[in-house]
């Protein structure tokens, strides 16, 4: 992903969102059909279900230079696959705790439930995360790992 704000040189965070196909993706579609405006620095990667979101994908996104990651799917009880999001939630509870223990900045990983009806929530989420990560600045710690330790 290129830096969004080449012209001004101001820092624009790079965000990726892993979203489920049935709720958050549709919610984001709804934000579109509702012509809500939100920050343009998020790139959506569509997966069938939050249950499919391997925790490694989040690490890989950071390794790829992302400054923040959004993970979002159906609200509990609303999973298209009945319970995929419940499984995901358990995984995230542990993974987030591990990230924190390892000193990874968990403020850069945002988990959310955004339903198909919540276009506004999606727009709001992107704006909020974008704003928060902009405050935090580029994720230099993680990005600094690239090439480190290679003689």
């Amino acid at each position: 992903m290129e830096n969004d704000n080449k012209a001004t040189g101001a820092f624009e965070p790079k965000l990726v969102a892993f979203v489920c196909n049935w709720c958050t993706y549709v919610g984001a579609d709804l934000a579109g059909t509702s012509r809500l405006k939100y920050a343009s620095n998020v790139r959506v990667i569509r997966l069938p279900c939050t249950g499919r979101i391997d925790f490694m994908l989040i690490l890989k996104a950071f390794a790829q230079g992302m400054d923040g990651v959004i993970v979002s799917g159906c609200h509990p009880g609303d999973c298209h696959y009945t319970v995929g999001n419940y499984h995901a939630r358990r995984r995230w509870i542990l993974f987030r705790s591990l990230l924190d223990f390892a000193g990874i900045d968990v403020r850069r990983v945002h988990f959310a439930w955004v339903s198909a009806a919540e276009g506004a929530k999606w727009a709001d989420l992107v704006n909020k995360v974008s704003g928060e990560v902009r405050e935090l600045g580029p994720y230099k710690e993680y990005q600094g790992l690239a090439g480190k330790g290679i003689a």
Binding site: Q64, G147, G149, I150, A151
Partner: protein
């Protein structure tokens, strides 16, 4: 060329400073927990010479655990161009190696300079000065004397320091690289007088006859039972190879993103099942006993035949680091016994 001088222990701080000021990187044993590891140090205070042996070997100075062999950039439509910069590894002093480690360089060089010289190894070695410290103590895992070395052996060192009193080291300046270090602070080095290193060296008993071993081990090669029995406890973890100062096996891996990539060399171990696994699923060494045999045979038989020297310096690291307490000397003795008995 060899010259013998004396240097006071408290002068090492000064020598260390001068060395650093000369722009050299210094690797030395640093204590962590009960172990010591070779790491880059910036002050002499960090250096710890109390351990019989460090956990990691000093081979990382010349054969890093992960080094770039190649860098490339992707252009339009995936076009490839090399990202060429002169290879200039840091000028390094490895301080506090034991004589066994210093000897290991010869074994490494034998591989890396074999027919097709390996630029990366050779350049690093050319820029590396080894300042060893003789062993005044040894432990039950040490067996340098069994493989041709010794606690005060000079082979491979540029300078060998031997503590000859509470206050002084006897400094054997063995090479030009060693001289260059002395030249940084010649005032610190006094004439040796009559000091002798031998009385101060640790006593390391010879545990086996390495020449006999070279003959007897191959005899057992096809006795699968023997090797299976000997390696039954082996977890195939590879620790022995990773801490070994002479193990030179490596893997080559590409890592790339959209912009470009790097071809990396990193340590590997013949003890891993994947080491020889073909994509087809066929694995020439498909059981652990074969892999363990490979390591032993390589060090004590093949190395002799192909490189004309042993692939082991007797540092004992493999035995110390083995999580299941497999002791190499014990195994060698048992293998020799099997070999003798046919």
């Amino acid at each position: 060329m060899a010259e013998t001088r004396l240097i006071r222990k408290d002068a090492l701080t000064k020598l260390f400073e001068k060395t650093r000021q000369s722009g050299r990187r210094i690797l030395a044993p640093k204590a962590k927990g009960e172990q010591a590891f070779f790491e880059e140090v910036t002050s002499f205070g960090e250096v710890c010479l109390d351990h019989v042996q460090t956990r990691s070997s000093a081979k990382e100075a010349v054969f890093p655990k992960c080094e770039a062999l190649l860098r490339y950039k992707f252009g339009d439509k995936g076009a490839v161009s090399y990202d060429e910069k002169p290879f200039e590894p840091p000028v390094t002093v490895v301080f506090g190696t034991r004589p066994c480690d210093a000897r290991s360089l010869a074994a490494l060089r034998a591989v890396f300079n074999w027919d097709t010289p390996d630029k990366f190894y050779l350049e690093r070695e050319a820029r590396t000065t080894i300042i060893s410290v003789s062993c005044t103590k040894a432990d039950s895992d040490c067996f340098c004397t069994s493989v041709g070395g010794g606690p005060g052996d000079t082979a491979g060192s540029d300078i060998l320091l031997t503590p000859v009193s509470d206050k002084e080291y006897l400094a054997e300046i063995l090479t030009e690289k060693g001289q260059a270090i002395v030249a940084l602070a010649p005032e610190l080095f006094a004439t040796a007088g009559g000091a002798q290193k031998e009385p101060h060296l640790a006593k390391v008993a010879v545990q086996f006859d390495v020449n006999e071993l070279a003959k007897t081990i191959p005899v057992t090669f096809n006795d699968e039972k023997v090797w299976q029995e000997q390696s039954l406890a082996c977890l195939g973890c590879g620790t022995c190879a990773y801490v070994c100062p002479t193990c030179a096996c490596f893997d080559i891996q590409d890592e790339a993103n959209r912009q470009g990539g790097v071809r990396l060399r990193c340590w590997d171990s013949c003890g891993f099942s994947l080491f020889t696994l073909h994509t087809s699923g066929h694995n020439p060494r498909h059981v652990q006993s074969q892999r363990w045999r490979q390591r032993v045979m390589h060090k004590f038989s093949y190395y002799l035949e192909r490189q004309g020297m042993l692939g082991c310096v007797g540092c004992g690291r493999c035995s110390r680091a083995c999580p299941v307490d497999m002791n190499l000397v014990e195994h060698l003795k048992e293998l020799a016994l099997h070999g003798r008995n046919g």
